[in-house]
C-alpha cells in the first residue's frame, strides 16, 4: 500500500471556474454581488427596490437562482431590467458552472452592476464561489435575532449584511441589539443595513454602499 500526498482543495475546480467568471465580469466592467438568504427573507424584493433606487445611476442586470420556476426572473423583467433565470432542478446552491452559463445569456456590455440571487438556503451557497466581487447575506426580522448564532458560517465571510423587514419589528420578538451583537461575534467588519423593502426605510444606505463599492472596483 502506498500513500500519495494530494493536498488539493475539494472545491478547487469550482474556485477555478469562479476566477474565470470573475475575469470575464472584470473585462466587461461589471461589478457582481452574490445575494444569499433563507427562502422568504426578501432577496427578490431587495433586488426590485435596488433596481428602482439605482435607476439613472447604474444599469442593473439580474441572475435569479431557484430550484424551479421563473417567477422571480419575470418579476425583474417586468420591472425593466435584464434577467436570466437559473433553475437548479433541486440543487441547493448556485455554482460557478451555472453562473458561467447564465453569463452567456446576459449582454454584459449593457450592464454595470449584476445582482445574483442565490438559491434560498442559509448553508450551502456560502461554500461555493461564483466569481462575485462581494458577498451579501440578507437576513430578516421574522427569522429571529439568533440566526448568526445558529448559522455562524453563513455570516462569517460576508461583505455586508442586510436585515430586511424591520417594519415587522413591532409584531415579533426581535431584539436588534442581540442580533447586532451576534453578527459582530462572527463578522466584526461587514456593514449592517437594517431596512424594509416594503416601506423603503433604510434602502438608501444600502444603495450608497453598493454604488460606492462599484466605483472602487
Amino acid at each position: 500500500m502506498t500513500e500519495l500526498k494530494v493536498e488539493e482543495k475539494i472545491l478547487s475546480a469550482n474556485d477555478r471556474l469562479a476566477l474565470e467568471n470573475r475575469a470575464r465580469l472584470d473585462r466587461a466592467g461589471v461589478h457582481a454581488i452574490n445575494l444569499m438568504a433563507s427562502p422568504g427573507a426578501g432577496k427578490t424584493s431587495l433586488i426590485l427596490r435596488t433596481l428602482a433606487a439605482t435607476r439613472g445611476r447604474c444599469t442593473l442586470g439580474v441572475i435569479e437562482g431557484d430550484l424551479a420556476s421563473r417567477v422571480d426572473a419575470d418579476k425583474v423583467l417586468a420591472a425593466g431590467a435584464p434577467a436570466v433565470q437559473i433553475n437548479t432542478g433541486g440543487g441547493c446552491h448556485l455554482d460557478a458552472v451555472m453562473l458561467g452559463r447564465a453569463l452567456d445569456e446576459l449582454d454584459l456590455e449593457a450592464i454595470d452592476l449584476l445582482l445574483i440571487e442565490n438559491v434560498g438556503n442559509l448553508v450551502c451557497p456560502t461554500q461555493f464561489a461564483l466569481g462575485e466581487h462581494r458577498r451579501v447575506l440578507v437576513a430578516s426580522v421574522p427569522e429571529g435575532h439568533d440566526k448568526p448564532i445558529k448559522y455562524p458560517s453563513s455570516f462569517l465571510d460576508m461583505d455586508a449584511i442586510v436585515l430586511n423587514k424591520i417594519d415587522l419589528a413591532p409584531y415579533v420578538d426581535f431584539d436588534y441589539a442581540a442580533f447586532e451583537r451576534a453578527v459582530r461575534a462572527v463578522n466584526p467588519t461587514a456593514p449592517l443595513f437594517p431596512l424594509s423593502c416594503r416601506t423603503g426605510e433604510g434602502v438608501a444606505a444600502w444603495v450608497t454602499w453598493l454604488l460606492e463599492g462599484m466605483q472602487k472596483a
Binding site: M1, T2, E3, L4, K5, V6, E7, E8, K9, I10, L11, S12, A13, N14, G91, C92, H93, D95, N121, V123, C124, T126, Q127, F128, I149, K150, P152, S153, L156, R181, A182, R184, A185, V186, N187, P188
Partner: protein
C-alpha cells in the same frame, strides 16, 4: 444537502491523482473537513459509496479528519474553540468573536493506493490481509 457535488469533486480529484501515479486502485482517502464548512461526513460516505461503484476507488475507505473551529480573540489573543450554538465569546476576556484560525478546511489530504488490482469480489479490503 450539497454533499453530492462535494463527493463528485472528491472522486474526480482522487481518480486523477491515482491515474497520474499509475495506481490500479484506491484503498483509502483522507479528507480534512473543517467544522465551519457544514459538511456532514456520513453523507459524504453515503454518496461516495454510490458514486465510486465501477471506478478504481470503489470500496475505498473514507477517513475524515474533522477539524474543530478555532478562533483567536481579537482583544487578548487567546485561542479558543467556539461552542456550537453559542455566541462566539472569548472565555478569558469575554470579548466577542475574533479571527478564525481553523474550521474552514476542505481538502483531500492524501490517498492510499495499490498498484495491482487484487481485490476479491465484494469490495472492501479484508483488514486481516494488511
Amino acid at each position: 444537502m450539497h454533499e453530492l457535488p462535494i463527493t463528485q469533486s472528491v472522486l474526480e480529484i482522487v481518480s486523477r491523482h491515482a491515474a497520474a501515479a499509475g495506481a490500479a486502485r484506491v484503498t483509502a482517502i483522507h479528507l480534512v473537513v473543517g467544522e465551519f464548512t457544514g459538511f456532514v461526513p456520513d453523507s459524504i460516505q453515503f454518496y461516495f459509496d454510490l458514486l465510486s461503484q465501477d471506478t478504481p476507488a470503489a470500496g475505498a475507505t473514507l477517513v475524515i479528519d474533522r477539524r474543530p473551529g478555532s478562533v483567536r480573540c481579537a482583544r487578548c489573543g487567546h485561542t479558543y474553540q467556539p461552542t456550537d450554538g453559542q455566541i462566539w465569546m472569548c472565555p478569558v476576556c469575554a470579548a466577542l468573536g475574533g479571527e478564525v484560525l481553523a474550521g474552514k478546511e476542505l481538502f483531500v489530504e492524501s490517498i492510499e493506493v495499490a498498484y495491482t488490482d487484487d481485490r476479491t469480489q465484494g469490495g472492501r479490503e479484508d483488514p486481516e490481509r494488511q
